[in-house]
């Protein structure tokens, strides 16, 4: 080492240290951990697989979609939460929606190209709530949602821009020819929105409406999870779905509620996290019964 110039000596030592540490903490450590984990906790280390009829049917930790090829819910199954992972519950493309909590104005699709446009988080929530309400035959009403399942948001044009008398009011998320959720606002007739029109000069006013602050359809039923693979739903959402599943499967409601209870995880130690019902193990258990 002494014959090398000082600046080079640092780099040679650095290279050697990188190689030595790569071998120890980069190869020996993870390989040893894998060996021990596989020997002692094999099922856990492999991904907590579940079997149905002798074949692996998934992992108890990874949620699944219970929709048919048409994307419609399969009625005999409890439904999972909405998912932003790929087309839904794709472990190869995990993700969250990343939509902000003030995302309330849609970019309406061009009528010529229904795939264009972009829904706000508010409209997605309203649409999901309406769909779940219809599926479970309960009210899907939520604050800030119209009865046709979009965000209840007005664009208000005022005389001096930010202040003054309202001159024109548009229901921003209701594309024509929809009927606006309000007939008039501050005495001005509310218009439906024309796709492509520029409403950026209008003040954005979400309208609360008179829906209860604690809607019938629970929060987890209308929101995408962080992982996109959330295996759980809340006990409230499971209870909401129980009558439908019991009906479809010809089981008594009491029996279905029992199976829900068996597949509910409470808070660990009584205070860690939140209770959840594992949708996959719940549906598997029901499949074994009927």
């Amino acid at each position: 080492m002494n014959r090398l110039p000082r600046w080079l000596a640092h780099h040679v030592a650095a290279l050697r240290v990188v190689v030595v540490l790569t071998l120890t903490v980069g190869l020996v450590y993870p390989l040893a951990m894998t060996g021990i984990a596989q020997a002692v906790l094999g099922r856990r280390a492999d991904g907590s697989h579940l079997e149905k009829d002798g074949k692996v049917a998934g992992s108890e930790l990874i949620g699944q979609s219970f929709t048919g090829t048409d994307g419609e819910p399969i009625k005999r199954y409890f439904q999972s939460r909405p998912s932003a992972a790929g087309d839904g519950y794709e472990p190869g493309a995990t993700g969250a929606s990343n939509q902000g909590s003030e995302s309330v104005v849609d970019v309406l699709p061009d009528p010529a190209d229904p795939e264009s446009g972009k829904l706000s988080l508010l409209t997605e929530v309203c649409a999901r709530s309406k769909a779940v309400g219809e599926l479970e035959q309960v009210s899907g009403a939520r604050p800030y949602c119209t009865s046709d399942g979009v965000g209840a948001v007005l664009g208000v044009f005022r005389e001096q821009g930010l202040s003054g008398r309202a001159t024109r009011v548009v229901s921003l998320n209701q594309a024509c020819p929809a009927t606006p959720f309000l007939a008039t606002y501050e005495g001005v007739a509310v218009e439906c929105a024309e796709p492509g029109d520029d409403y950026s000069k209008a003040l954005v006013v979400p309208v609360r409406g008179d829906a209860p602050a604690d809607p019938v359809v629970p929060a987890d039923a209308v929101t995408a999870s962080g992982s996109g693979l959330d295996p759980h739903i809340s006990p409230a959402y499971a209870a909401l779905q129980a009558p439908r599943v019991a009906r479809e499967r010809g089981l008594s409601l009491d029996r279905v509620e029992d199976v829900i209870k068996q597949n509910t995880t409470g808070r660990a130690l009584g205070f860690l996290g939140e209770p959840g019902v594992n949708v996959l193990t719940l549906n598997l258990a029901l499949d074994r019964e009927s």
């Binding site: 240290v17 790569t22 984990a37 492999d46 991904g47 909590s101 988080l121 660990a268 959840g276």
Partner: protein, 553 residues
């Protein structure tokens, strides 16, 4: 029990657990860094790398060793990603593109773990464990080494020698990080975190579709990701993914690991300077700021003051059911108060003020308690600034721990604190002023600005968490954020090592009637104040245009 009550007990239990380990772990780290004996394995390593472990370095040589090690590491990780299709266990993944590989190499070497890629679709198992996870160990060990060196500057007198980087690096890795990682990894596997070498394999789902179940050596990487305050997830959704964070209690354990080393280092500091009460004072500063931030983040998230959150009924967008709102908020605060950047819920979908707290935490300079080592040297520099400000007020030469804070010291401390705001604000301005920067926003208006501001704050502070929405794997962002990470990491380190050198050279000043006591609540309050004022004055205008505008409208 209500979710709020459970969330409060969750926080209290973390505080209790950290209090229990404060002395044992802090004392252990003190013995690791001050011991003079090398064990057999270490002697073997020193012989292999060709360094003489008993020879101390001057600060300049120490800094050159840090930089040489980091440059070689960047090249090594870059090469591994570019050649992954020719190596083992690539799972058939293509070589990583040049700008993403460059960004990722820098990101992991600087302890940032900003991820411009999606783990499950970009990186094979070998790159993950032998490239990225190795940096999770050593980048944390580098941060701890630099912190210990600054403390040696206070503890040593009339010397040019401030320690040997290679010894500090190796000891931090194999005596502190590795043993905790071994235990933690096995506990995580018991909770359901996977540890295997399987390729993604298809299974038939109940509904008649197929699902591809992924595998990987996840637990061994997950534990060091939290312990070393790195934060780079094995999978795209990081610690929200059930295979990284399977249960309600693994979530608790991961937050505990995040706080473990940063909150125990004040004890090590106290032992090294021979006054445990100085350690408690620093711990009190960190604890006050951290607890306030955790509580506020919880208040904002549980309160849910945002239009969509009120439509939903609770802030569940981007959060998993098993964690719920309170424990997700606590994780978000923990990951940004330290330099971790792992996420178990998505900050982009937080309420505006909850999201602002995560940004504010990083803007504090990550000193409460900050990253492994990085938080410790950050808070000591702030303490130096505080005694200087206090000295100005009473017209005395400031001193801290028996060392005079002269013009050279205060220049280095000021440069340290100007680096990050400069990078964040210039970076954000550059992004807003160019089409490649603007095109990446997912949300519009103030929220879009928040996304960009968050990205540059995260990169410059070496945090690595993201306000998800920005599309960052473009060449412009990979290069710009890469530069922020390099300068945000190594400029402060050089200033800190320079400070250590100039402190170690001094003769100690005897304590006099004019010495400001630095272990009393008065001093703790002053450091907290200086920390908040330094931050608020720098970043308030940018916050007002982003999250404040959105949250208060």
């Amino acid at each position: 029990m209500s979710p709020t009550a459970a969330g409060i007990i969750f926080i209290v239990s973390l505080v209790v657990a950290l209090a229990v380990v404060y002395k044992p772990l802090g004392d252990y780290m003190y013995r690791v860094y001050s011991g003079t004996r090398h064990n057999v394995a270490e002697r073997g390593i020193y012989r292999l790398i060709g360094v003489r472990p008993d020879r101390d370095q001057r600060w300049g040589a120490y800094a050159r060793s840090v930089l040489a090690f980091s440059v070689i590491s960047i090249l090594f990780v870059y090469g591994m990603q570019r050649l992954q299709d020719k190596l083992f266990l690539s799972l058939g993944m293509a070589p990583v593109t040049d700008h993403v590989a460059w960004n990722t190499a820098i990101s992991f070497v600087t302890n940032t773990n900003w991820q411009a890629y999606s783990g499950e679709s970009t990186m094979g198992h070998l790159v993950q464990m032998a490239g990225l996870a190795v940096q999770n160990f050593v980048s944390a060990a580098v941060g701890m080494a630099v912190a210990i060196t600054l403390v040696r500057g206070f503890a040593r007198n009339r010397t040019e020698n401030i320690g040997n980087f290679w010894v500090d690096l190796v000891r931090g890795s194999v005596r502190i990080l590795l043993p905790i990682a071994v235990i933690g990894a096995l506990v995580l596997v018991a909770g359901g975190v996977v540890q295997n070498f399987a390729s993604p394999h298809d299974v038939a789902t109940l509904a008649g579709g197929t699902q591809s179940i992924t595998g990987g050596p996840v637990a061994s990487q997950e534990v060091i990701k939290e312990l070393g305050n790195n934060g780079g997830g094995f999978y795209n959704t990081n610690s929200a993914h059930p295979f990284e964070n399977a249960t309600t209690w693994t979530n608790w354990l991961e937050i505990f690991l995040i706080f473990l080393i940063p909150f125990s280092l004040p004890r090590t500091f106290g032992r090294l300077v021979g006054q445990n009460r100085q350690g408690y004072a620093i711990l009190a500063v960190m604890g006050t700021l951290a607890l306030a931030s955790i509580v506020l983040t919880n208040v904002f998230e549980i309160g849910g003051h945002a239009t969509v959150t009120q439509a939903i009924g609770s802030a569940m967008e981007g959060k998993d059911v098993r964690f719920g709102v309170p424990d997700s908020a606590t994780f978000a605060a923990a990951t940004t108060l330290t330099s971790t950047g792992a996420v178990n819920s998505f900050h982009d979908s937080f309420t505006p003020l909850g999201g602002m707290m995560t940004m504010f935490n990083m803007m504090l300079g990550e000193v409460a308690p900050g990253g492994a080592g990085a938080g410790m040297y950050g808070i000591l520099v702030l303490a130096v600034l505080t005694v200087f400000v206090a000295g100005l007020m009473v017209g005395r030469t400031p001193e801290y721990l028996g060392k005079k804070i002269g013009s050279r010291e205060i220049k280095l401390a000021s440069l340290y604190f100007l680096t990050t705001p400069t990078l964040v604000l210039i970076g954000t301005a550059a992004a807003m002023g160019n089409s490649a920067g603007l095109a990446a926003m997912l949300n519009s208006g103030p929220h879009g600005l928040s996304e960009i501001l968050y990205a540059f704050t995260s990169a410059s502070n070496n945090n690595g968490s993201a306000f998800g929405g920005v599309t960052v794997n473009t060449p412009w962002y990979d290069v710009a954020l890469g530069l922020c990470m390099v300068f945000g990491r190594f400029l402060p380190i050089i200033f800190v090592l320079g400070l250590a050198g100039s402190l170690a050279r001094q003769a100690p000043v005897p304590v006099s009637a004019g010495t400001l006591p630095t272990h009393r609540p008065q001093f703790v309050g002053m450091v907290v104040g200086v920390t908040i004022i330094v931050v608020a004055l720098t970043f308030l205008p940018a916050l007002a245009l982003g999250p404040l505008a959105e949250g208060l409208s």
